[in-house]
């Protein structure tokens, strides 16, 4: 019996933790985020690459702006998704587009690279639920 209660308590703890493992800014559950270009598996012969950000059923707003169902884009290069309950890091692997940009030009060294988008709210924290794109792999020749 004690074991069962412990198990229930543990389950509750895990459930409790789950609810804080995302930001608190709500968004349309139907929102979709994707990398418009390049495509997954693309082989690119130039070092500079224009990447455009695709999003449906949600809007873009610059960082610091509090408008319902909006956020700003972040591009993750050669890294895993960051924690969902804190501001997205700001470094060479996590590019912020806090001015409301919807595309960018990046320069990558020859080799394989991964790209993934994640939306951040006005405080750069992912939404609830977090909105991120599929992670794609490209090769720069």
């Amino acid at each position: 019996m004690r074991l069962l209660i412990s198990a229930i308590a543990l389950t509750l703890l895990v459930a409790g933790a789950a609810t804080v493992s995302a930001g608190t800014t709500k968004r349309d559950p139907a929102a979709e985020l994707y990398i418009g270009w390049p495509n997954n598996g693309e082989v690119i012969k130039k070092r500079t690459i224009r990447v455009w950000f695709g999003m449906r059923n949600m809007g873009v707003a610059p960082a610091g702006i509090d408008v319902e169902n909006t956020g700003h884009h972040h591009l993750i290069i050669d890294a895993e998704l960051p924690p969902f309950d804190e501001p997205i890091p700001n470094d060479e692997h996590h590019l912020h587009f806090g001015k409301g940009q919807t595309e960018t030009v990046i320069e990558l060294a020859p080799g394989k690279h991964t790209l993934q988008l994640i939306m951040g709210d006005k405080d750069h924290v992912p939404h609830d639920p977090p909105l991120y794109s599929k992670k794609i792999t490209i090769t720069v020749k």
């Binding site: 695709g54 809007g59 610059p62 409301g100 919807t102 595309e103």
Partner: protein, 140 residues
Amino acid sequence: MTMCIRAVVAAAIVAIAAPVLAAEPSPEGAKAYIIWPGDGTVIKGGKFWLRMGLVNMGVAPAGVEKPETGHHHLIIDADLPPLDEPIPNDSNHLHFGKGQTEVRIELPPGTHTLQMLLGDANHIPHNPPVQSEKITIVVP
């Protein structure tokens, strides 16, 4: 002399009023373009997602005053509206005041024109205006 003073007063009122209506300056190199569909695309059924592209500038919802940002408008089957006043809001001029960058469109059979025009916090085109090329699509 009285008339001269009146004229000066009138000029002063215009000068005061003008900054309120003045459009946001657009950043250098700002460019709007329709990512998809391309010019001349034939779209069976007339239903599609239109993607709006913006270079050297950011998107912000209507009402947000932030330099170098604006929100998208899509002009369907019409010419550019006057560039010194708020963009009309009707079935030929769609507003994306929530910061949207894509829209689901449904058009009847025929030839249609599509063109984007950015508006500032007050829906007024920037100075200089940021607009896309006008494209033509065909719904068979």
